[in-house]
């Protein structure tokens, strides 16, 4: 069952322009865990995600996925295991129709056509997009694009789902639908987000990044309540954990 683990040990990354984005990050995410990665803009969240599927190589330290050290030889296996959902679905939907986009990954895995069709149908059904397979991606709404992007990754049947801001720019109902969808997955989930209420809904564990370091790592409910952690990292308590402004209005400061 070690397939679904993600481990980073003393991870450093410095961009060619000298920006130190990661400055020694260590964590271990185990099978079936759902982890939120939160932090201010520029804290290193996206850089960290790029390391989890080997798009960026660390300048120091190491990443292990499913027990395998990430290197040139293990890259195909790691990319097969880690499904990555990008922030902008337009980056992920590059084929002329939704169906072909979802089939893109399985076809590259060399699966037989019957199996590919089955996977595409299952993935589209899971995200509630059956019947929209023939649409070109630019004719989808924002919520549908997001769902299609998730389907493209599900069709690869990854062990680990990595998502960058999945709830960004969704209307409240689409956001709720997305949360329910993600909740139904049994994969190991790593979600970088500013949507702390979603983190509270989906992730039992939260990692707080601050200036390229892990500022806190622990149960989501404890961390998102702790103002001494949230404040310095430019974060705020999720709305749900703030008092009701009508029942218990904050004391007037004037």
């Amino acid at each position: 069952m070690s397939h679904h683990t993600v481990e980073a040990r003393d991870l450093y990354h410095t961009y060619p322009d000298g920006t130190a984005a990661l400055r020694g990050i260590t964590f271990c995410i185990t099978h079936g865990e759902s982890v939120a990665i939160v932090g201010e803009n520029g804290a290193g969240k996206s850089t960290l995600l790029m390391h989890l599927n080997g798009y960026l190589a660390p300048t120091g330290g190491a990443v292990r996925v499913g027990g395998l050290p990430l290197n040139r030889d293990t890259l195909p296996a790691v990319r097969r295991a880690v499904g990555m959902v990008f922030q902008d679905p337009d980056d992920q939907l590059f084929m002329p129709t939704v169906f072909e986009d979802v089939a893109f990954g399985p076809l590259n895995l060399g699966l037989p056509p019957g199996e590919v069709e089955g996977r595409v149908a299952r993935a589209l059904e899971t995200v509630g997009m059956e019947g929209l397979g023939n649409r070109p991606p630019y004719k989808l709404s924002g919520g549908e694009k997001r769902a299609a992007a998730i389907a493209t990754v599900l069709a690869m049947e990854p062990d680990i789902l990595v998502m960058d801001e999945p709830s960004a720019s969704l209307d409240p109902r689409s956001r709720r639908r997305l949360i329910e969808l993600l909740r139904s997955f049994s994969h190991t989930k790593i979600i970088a987000t500013h949507d702390l209420d979603m983190a509270l809904d989906l992730c039992e564990r939260t990692l707080v990044l601050h200036e390229g370091l892990v500022a806190a790592d622990g149960p989501t409910r404890d961390i998102l309540r702790d103002e001494s952690i949230l404040g310095p990292c430019s974060l705020e308590k999720p709305l749900r954990l703030q008092g009701c402004p009508i029942c218990a209005p904050p004391r007037a400061t004037a």
Partner: protein, 268 residues
């Protein structure tokens, strides 16, 4: 203006999404037949006009079996027409040799070749437009690939088509942002357009990198695979063979002259 043009591209896609007899023909048959058509049209001598007219049969038949509206084709033709006009517009000035005359009216070779150029342009570009609109850019690329065109080229066309929409969207947002803060004026003029183009280029490059990443994440190795297989059936062979024969016959036998001769012969 840009937005309406943009909607036009989308409409082309909508046209090709329907199930028409034209759509069902294998793209290779359509591409090869159209290539034969273009070669036949271009192989006529410089002053030919009458012999070209029967060739309108091909785009007209394709339009009807592909349910492609005439107005759509004419509009797109009008957009590219200036190129053809520019190519031929000096012919009437340079070639003043009289080739025919009725009373005080004379027809010079220049005007004749100019008319011939315009006809050839309308035929070839029109037929290509109808085939692309009735087939869909994706199937056209698949057909090209199956005919041996390098994958690097067909993939480029596919991506160009897919991201044209995103690029136009980006450009439109930027143009709107500029317009909203220039208060009807020229908004600092051309210099700003330079900056806008530059930042559009940088954005596009950033996006290209992210798309590449997304593709690599799903096992892309340089070849775009698709599930649908092309099948070259009896109907496709018939389409290709029928039209090729028609083009050869129309090219070798001057149909209008024969019909004219026949009518005149019958009249006397």
């Amino acid at each position: 203006m840009i937005e309406s043009r943009f909607a036009d591209i989308g409409w082309m896609d909508a046209l090709s999404g329907r199930d028409t007899p034209l759509r069902r023909i294998d793209p290779r048959a359509k591409l090869l037949a159209t290539l034969g058509f273009i070669l036949a049209v271009l192989s006529f001598p410089k002053y030919e006009v009458a012999g070209l007219l029967p060739f309108f049969l091909y785009p007209v038949v394709l339009m009807s079996i592909g349910d492609v509206p005439v107005a759509f084709v004419l509009r797109r033709l009008a957009v590219v027409a200036p190129f053809a006009v520019f190519v031929g517009m000096f012919n009437p000035l340079l070639d003043r040799q009289v080739v025919a005359g009725v009373g005080p009216w004379v027809m010079t070779g220049g005007w004749l070749s100019f008319a011939s150029i315009l006809l050839r342009f309308a035929l070839t570009v029109g037929a290509t437009l109808v085939v692309v609109a009735g087939t869909g850019i994706h199937d056209v690329c698949r057909g090209l690939g199956a005919l041996g065109v390098p994958a690097a080229f067909t993939a480029q066309v596919l991506f160009l088509y897919r991201y044209l929409f995103v690029l136009v969207d980006d450009g439109m947002r930027m143009a709107r942002a500029r317009a909203l803060r220039s208060f009807g004026g020229r908004g600092m003029g051309m210099r700003v357009y330079g900056h806008m183009l530059g930042s559009l280029l940088l954005r596009t490059m950033g996006r290209a990198e992210r798309i590449h990443l997304a593709m690599r994440c799903r096992g892309f190795d340089g070849q775009v695979r698709t599930l649908t297989r092309l099948r070259f059936g009896f109907a496709d062979a018939l389409f290709l063979l029928g039209w090729s024969t028609a083009f050869v016959l129309l090219r070798c036998f001057d149909l209008p002259r024969r019909v004219g001769g026949w009518i005149l012969g019958a009249g006397t």
